[in-house]
């Protein structure tokens, strides 16, 4: 399987603070990987670097074929951060339709995407500002489902979700990996998430530990 993420000695700065200090990581297409570690360890920064949102200050990185060190922007990366990236005055349906249009994907799939994450009926046409945090997270997830990215980057996606929503999220992620996409998620919930990923890596003080790189490209 091809490589989705390949980082070597990656350094990323937040102002003057080295959020990532020489990180090596390989993630292949079809793999799902959990990044876990204490608060402030660099989970969010790692995801943002892979999304092309945080530039590399040193080291090498290739994400979906885009060379990060040459200011390349990876295309086809789905990102769900702590903030869902929604427009408060628009409804869930309108938000997902907009995201689809942004990606050049027909907006007609928006309704189905929302259903997939358990948002059905009139709640889809209410302004997103009136939804709970968990519901907003689900709208953000639906947007990803609608655009079918090749790489999924999620920052603590299970936080604030009830049991039903969590299992829907899990099935969405499993389906994505099964369809050949790569999934990288940061989470504190090691036991729960550990069941749905193929491996996990530990991050602390901006560095990774655990099985982070592949020596060869043999399928797992």
């Amino acid at each position: 399987m091809g490589s989705a993420i390949r980082l070597r000695s990656a350094v990323a700065l937040l102002g003057r603070f080295p959020a990532l200090a020489a990180v090596d990581l390989d993630v292949s297409m079809g793999e799902s990987v959990l990044v876990e570690g204490p608060n402030g360890a660099g989970k969010t920064s790692l995801l943002r670097v892979c999304a092309g949102l945080l530039p590399l200050s040193a080291g090498a990185g290739v994400v979906l074929g885009a060379d990060l060190s040459k200011r390349g922007r990876p295309h086809g990366v789905g990102f769900l951060g702590h903030a869902a990236g929604l427009y408060d005055d628009l409804s869930a349906l309108e938000n997902v339709e907009f995201r689809a249009r942004l990606w050049g994907v027909p907006p007609s799939g928006a309704a189905a995407a929302l259903e997939r994450v358990g948002l059905e009926g009139p709640i889809r046409t209410v302004a997103v500002a009136r939804l709970s945090a968990g519901q907003r997270r689900r709208v953000g997830l639906a947007a990803l489902v609608a655009v079918r990215p090749r790489l999924w980057l999620l920052d603590e996606p299970h936080a604030g979700l009830d049991a039903e929503a969590r299992s829907q999220l899990d099935s969405v992620l499993e389906e994505a990996a099964h369809d050949g996409a790569a999934v990288l998620l940061a989470s504190h919930e090691v036991e729960h998430v550990g069941r749905i990923v193929s491996r996990s890596v530990h991050i602390e003080r901006g560095r990774l530990a655990g099985t982070t790189v592949r020596e060869t490209d043999n399928a797992a």
Binding site: L53, G76, G85, Y87, E94, W103
Partner: protein
């Protein structure tokens, strides 16, 4: 790229339609300023009528600052800007789309103010074509400059105070051009208003080009 710009503009206008901020806050703000000018200057009809174009365009300028801040706040509120970047959309499309939506909102303000100025200051719409043409180009220029400077100050805590300081000196040519064109358009000036339209077009072109080129690098650290 134009398709993407249209998608962004449509989104902004849909938000505007949904939230009514333009209708309930921006236009009333502009009209209140017009009334305040009326209070501050002698209710001697002659002075107000003569100053009407200038007062109108100063009001538009101030309103544009508000509208620009609002336009940019939409993207930073829930980190929607991250999604714009990640989608792979051309940053120039984001720039043009947002500026286009902003222009439409400012045109609504100009229309409302034109009515206000006719009613309150006794202005006469002598040359409507000149008035409309210059209004279109001037608001486009303001929207482009505002969106660009908003991005320059994006993510800064002091953005609300910094953007006015940065933008107002720069849009001086628009104020000059639009005011002179409108003076001619309401029959107040002896000289021709049309040369000013050329200046306004030049301004619009310069800022469109600047924004298209600069928005990519600027979005990189939004």
């Amino acid at each position: 790229m134009l398709r993407e710009a249209f998608v962004v503009a449509a989104k902004d206008l849909r938000i505007e339609a949904r939230s009514h901020v333009g209708r309930t806050q921006v236009v009333p703000f502009a009209l209140v300023v017009v009334v305040l000018f009326g209070l501050a200057l002698d209710p001697d009809r002659g002075l107000l009528t003569r100053a009407a174009p200038g007062l109108l365009w100063v009001t538009v300028l101030l309103t544009a600052l508000l509208a620009t801040q609002r336009s940019l706040a939409l993207e930073s509120a829930d980190r929607a800007v991250d999604q714009l970047r990640v989608s792979g959309i051309d940053p120039a499309a984001v720039f043009l789309g947002k500026a286009a939506a902003l222009s439409v909102q400012l045109l609504v303000v100009v229309t409302a103010l034109a009515v206000g100025v006719v009613v309150l200051y006794g202005a006469v719409l002598a040359s409507p074509l000149l008035l409309i043409a210059s209004a279109l180009v001037a608001t486009a220029g303001l929207a482009l400059a505002g969106t660009l400077y908003g991005a320059v100050a994006a993510g800064l805590r002091v953005r609300e105070t910094l953007v006015p300081l940065l933008v107002l000196p720069v849009v001086a040519p628009v104020l000059l051009g639009a005011t002179r064109a409108w003076e001619a358009g309401v029959g107040l000036a002896v000289s021709d208003g049309w040369p000013w339209l050329r200046l306004l077009v030049a301004f619009m072109v310069v800022f469109a080009a600047a924004g298209v080129m600069a928005f990519g690098p600027l979005l990189e650290d939004a």
